[in-house]
């Protein structure tokens, strides 16, 4: 299996605060990796490093064997220019906790924006694909609605369709259901479940333990900026080896 994401000793600090203290992990093609852990453990920060929304301070982070946000030439690391970083991000879809739909565009325009603007694809073809994507997330009838007219669950499903419109081969989910009313969580998880069945490579930061157990291949428990423990979800949830994992799971399960 091909490796999509490879992290080697990834570190991130804000001022004097070490948020990530050497993360090592691998995500293979088609793998679904879920990250759990208390807030402030660094799991969202790691996710944001994968598409260079945060810059890695030390260690190496590769997506498809290419350094994220940097270039290594002749033993030296060079920072990438804005357009090169943008090019790297094209293949990586991201879904945010607060949806972050563009409020001045309709659902359809949100989905169409990036392929038209970034990839310069013809509008007519993109429009057709965008309609298909909205239908796939069950929102064919909401194409003309503005984000403010949609429920949280609907907005998050549009956000997933928007990310998929760039035909990513890796999807990052940053607590996609944390800002939703409980009865709306299911509809978003259903869409994500369908993506898993399609074989999408995914990293999911989540608090939905049931969902993580059901869909992920690898579960990673993080605390204090390090990976405490990782493995198949059944093993980790049923028989955690580390006492911090045990303490965390005893509170959330």
């Amino acid at each position: 299996m091909m490796t999509v994401v490879r992290a080697e000793g990834v570190c991130k600090r804000y001022g004097t605060l070490d948020v990530l203290k050497g993360i090592d992990l691998e995500v293979r093609q088609g793998e679904v990796l879920a990250m759990i852990g208390p807030s402030g453990s660094g799991k969202s920060t790691f996710l944001r490093c994968v598409n260079h929304l945060e810059r890695v301070d030390a260690g190496r982070l590769y997506v498809h064997d290419r350094l994220v946000g940097y270039e290594e030439r002749g033993g030296k690391i060079y920072e990438l220019a804005d357009h090169a970083v943008a090019r790297q991000r094209r293949g990586i879809g991201m879904v945010f906790q607060r949806f972050n739909l563009f409020p001045h565009m309709t659902a359809l325009e949100n989905v169409m924006a990036a392929p038209v603007l970034v990839k310069k694809e013809p509008k007519a073809a993109v429009r057709e694909r965008a309609r298909d994507l909205l239908a796939r997330v069950g929102l064919a009838d909401k194409a003309g609605s503005y984000p403010a007219q949609l429920s949280g669950g609907q907005q998050q499903r549009v956000a997933i369709a928007r990310a998929l419109a760039m035909r990513p081969d890796l999807m990052l989910f940053d607590e996609p259901t944390s800002a939703l009313d409980p009865e709306l969580v299911g509809e978003v998880l259903d869409v994500m479940r369908a993506l898993v069945e399609d074989g999408m490579t995914m990293i999911i930061v989540t608090h939905e333990m049931g969902f993580a157990r059901e869909v992920c291949d690898t579960l990673v428990f993080m605390d204090g900026g390090v990976v405490i423990e990782s493995g198949p979800p059944g093993d980790l949830l049923n028989a955690p080896q580390h006492e911090r994992t045990q303490a965390f799971l005893s509170k959330v399960l």
Partner: protein, 289 residues
Amino acid sequence: MTAPSPKVFSKTAQRGDGAVAIEAVPLRHPGRWVGSAVLAFLVIFLLQGWAANPRMQWDVVGEYLFSPAVLQGLGTTLLLTVLAMVVGVAGGAVLAILRMSSNPLLSGLSAFYIWVFRGTPLLVQLLFWYFLSAVVPKIGLGVPWGPTFFEFDTNQIITQMTAAVLGLGLHEAAYMGEIVRAGITSVDVGQTEAAHALGMTRFQTLRKIVLPQAMRLIIPPTGNQAVSMLKTTSLVFAIAVPELLTSIQGIYSRNFQQVPLLTVACIWYLVATTVLNAGQYYIERRFNR
């Protein structure tokens, strides 16, 4: 309800779900009525006195309201307003983007510009541009400390009109810079992150995602600035640009009918600001969708 309903509810409408709507006797405001009556009387008294005052010389007002000199001055005022606002908005956008640059030299330069142009009186700035030739007699293009390709007398380029547009526009840019910056920083950082995550460059993000949203906050104060600019153009009488007030002054310096002619000026300024306000209303409605 089994008991007979109280009198107050006798005419209540039955809603479909059986809820009884409250039809209460409205609270009376006698003080408000008395106050309104007194104020209305005062306003009518003053307006009547003003309109009927023979010294207002309304016939002179009517005579000059559409006179060619006044209309020409009005045209110059409108042209000055448009040009100065164009310079101001464009300059303000540049200043705002520089100000938010991570390069300290660029953001410092922008801050310095705003400090100077907001910190000195507009009238002084106008005079300064007008007398530029005293400091810089020739303006040309060439290699610094090297050969000059071509040059002009400053007095040829900096006419009264260009001095006025430069003075008003560059002063305006300092204010617009702060307005644009406030608009841009008001847009949620999540919008930028989402755009970046989709592979948009910083420029694409600014143009397609951030600026359209910032416009909602930028437009209302910009409208105020335009209205204010329309009136501020009257300051250029100091460098003798023939705009509305200068034309009016020219006329009353000959016929000594100051009050009726200043009334003419006020009427035209009011008409123009009213049109601007209406335009602002429609633009705001468009961007508030």
